[in-house]
Symmetry: C2
Subunit: 205 residues, 2 copies
């Protein structure tokens, strides 16, 4: 038929609702309502709330995977520049999916049944990425371009500073309601790049 427009719409709204309110907080009737379809339609396409949630999860984990995959997509380039590129790309990914991390982390803790799924989906890729980065860092360290450090630690630093920039954004905006988000994000991304540069080589800049 008409390309399952309504089914897609349900999924879209469900994503928003689940991300905002979590599994327990979201309401199927509200999802249907906001999606502009009848209550029965929702159950026509998705038997249960659980199933609908499953679809959202799969979709989201897909994006998380893509996020990790950006590490590989960076072609041959000096490791320092590569790290900067990594920070920026990760930051951009978060700009487009600002509340994905909060959602994932929460549902992993609140609903351990999904932790397994996430491990299967995202971990192998991540491990590979860490191993590659480690090799490059070690090589650069031999040349004295960067200090010796663990790739896993570096990645954690990158993710943590970037993530936090987004997690606190709603709090900051409630403090300063007239806050300029664009300017904030721009400044924050640069701050984060700086911080990570300092981290891999205290002598840079």
């Amino acid at each position: 038929m008409k390309d399952n427009k309504k089914q897609k719409r349900i999924l879209e709204v469900a994503e928003e609702e689940f991300l905002m309110k979590g599994f327990a907080g979201a309401r199927t009737v509200e999802i249907a309502e906001r999606a502009g379809v009848s209550h029965s339609m929702l159950h026509y396409y998705y038997k249960t709330k659980e199933q609908l949630f499953g679809h959202v999860m799969v979709e989201k984990l897909q994006r998380l995977k893509e996020s990790v995959a950006t590490v590989f997509m960076i072609e041959d380039m000096p490791v320092v520049e590569k790290v900067v590129e990594l920070v920026v790309r990760h930051f951009e990914f978060l700009s487009e999916n600002p509340d994905l991390p909060r959602f994932i982390i929460n549902e992993m803790i609140v609903r351990p049944e999904y932790a397994e799924m996430m491990k299967r989906e995202a971990l192998p890729l991540l491990k590979d990425a860490v191993a590659r980065l480690q090799r490059e860092l070690d090589a650069a360290a031999k040349e004295g371009e960067v200090r010796t450090m663990e790739a896993a630690t570096l990645l954690m630093d990158i993710v943590s500073v970037n993530l936090f920039s987004f997690i606190v954004a709603p709090i900051l905006s409630s403090v300063k309601p007239d806050m300029d988000f664009q300017a904030y994000y721009h400044a924050r991304c640069q701050e984060n790049v700086q911080l990570i540069l300092n981290r891999i080589n205290p002598d840079i800049k």
Copy 2:
């Protein structure tokens, strides 16, 4: 009577349940059960789930305030050492309240009615802390002890790297089930201190 032992127990369990599952996910019957009291007892002390949640919130915001207050409790001391001390104390606070931040951030987004309360409770103190730190940083910058930087940014960096160490801990432990948490936290705290030191003065160490 016997010092409201049961009432306290209910609150304790409610805290755990709300922190783990959020307001929407927690169940009053389960709280009563786990607290070892009857269902009616719970409603005897706390009319509604909402009210019980309110008590938990107040308690938690109190701790958050105390966390912020540590900034003031640090006596006269060179600003660099003070910052190190700050990182360590904040890290220790998180060790004792590992899922408080996730809970607070979540409920702020999911239940905006509590955001107001949090602002009233924690923000004035925080603003004061930032202003004080800024003055000290500026003074130290004049002496060339640290680079010029915004106190708010520094605090954000501290909170973000510390927070993240805790947020990822459950994920890491699911990857390596035999992981040594004690060792992890110890290493992580030192890494974070290093990172922040680099941040305020790239020439240190």
